[in-house]
């Protein structure tokens, strides 16, 4: 709407996200490149959560392992999203742990689905290293870790 950064901030304060925007401004985790990460992590939270909720309710018996893993990945994504928005040193450290966990999850599940496809009659977000999701699941934790490291120095 405007090119004036001050006016943009005022608009943000007027909105519902006032508290969030201010706390993020304090630490900068959800600002700049972090804003893009918040969006992508938000998308993946919704994607993994809605997928696992639907599948756990509608077709649990078909592939319980895959659906439970989807639910776990949704929880990890949700936690990282919240940490990025909240900001602060504690949240940054927690997010680093979760990003590492996420990377480990993608690599483990990715290898597992290739090594033993019969354990996974249905797909998860992390199947085949996230191939069904344009490989974003494997790039996201790496980018997240890089950004979280840089956010401390900057």
């Amino acid at each position: 709407m405007t090119e004036d950064p001050a006016a943009g901030k005022a608009a943000g304060k007027a909105g519902k996200t006032a508290g969030k925007a201010e706390s993020a401004a304090r630490t900068g985790l959800g600002q700049g490149p972090g804003r893009l990460l918040v969006m992508l992590y938000g998308v993946f939270t919704v994607a993994a959560a809605s997928r696992s909720i639907y599948q756990l309710i509608a077709q649990y018996q078909e592939a319980p392992l895959a659906y439970i893993l989807s639910a776990v990945s949704a929880a990890v994504y949700a936690f990282i999203t919240v940490s990025l928005v909240r900001g602060g040193e504690g949240a940054r450290k927690a997010a680093i742990v979760c990003c590492a966990l996420e990377l480990l999850g993608v690599l483990t599940v990715g290898t597992w689905t290739l090594a033993d496809p019969s354990a996974f009659p249905d797909q998860t977000v992390w199947s085949d290293y996230g191939m069904g999701y344009l490989f974003i699941p494997i790039f996201l934790p790496v980018t997240g870790l890089l950004w979280l490291r840089k956010a401390r120095r900057g």
């Binding site: 943009g8 909105g15 804003r35 918040v38």
Partner: protein
């Protein structure tokens, strides 16, 4: 009708992604014209949501289930407005990059919607 709209929405979403991606590349925040573009795409997505629900109420049955169809309709209606608000409070190139990424997500949702509806007829 809904197939044509899905294709149109997918194409306009990609155009929006390219446009905002270009702004990010040139180190510019989103401007008035970008927001007008976002409004057009968001409006199309809302129209799609309404038509989709009307078609469901009229007795049509998406190939891959009603619940998934409605979830994707709602998701695609929300994607661009949320990104627009995020870029309002991020007046840098990264605000533009965020909108661009959300538009790509919307395009992917449209491809999935096309499959979910059944891909033919409609």
């Amino acid at each position: 009708m809904i197939d044509a709209l899905t294709v149109a929405l997918g194409v306009t979403a990609l155009l929006l992604a390219a446009w905002c991606g270009f702004a990010a590349y040139r180190d510019q925040p989103t401007k008035d014209w970008h927001f007008i573009g976002m409004a057009v795409v968001a409006l199309l997505a809302v129209v799609q949501l309404v038509i989709g629900v009307v078609r469901l109420a009229g007795g049509d049955d998406p190939q891959q289930g009603v619940a998934i169809f409605v979830a994707y309709l709602i998701g695609s209606a929300l994607a661009v407005p949320i990104a627009a608000f995020m870029s309002l409070t991020e007046r840098t190139r990264w605000g533009s990059a965020t909108v661009s990424a959300a538009a790509v997500v919307l395009a992917v949702l449209e491809v999935r919607l096309y499959d979910i509806w059944g891909g033919v007829g409609g």
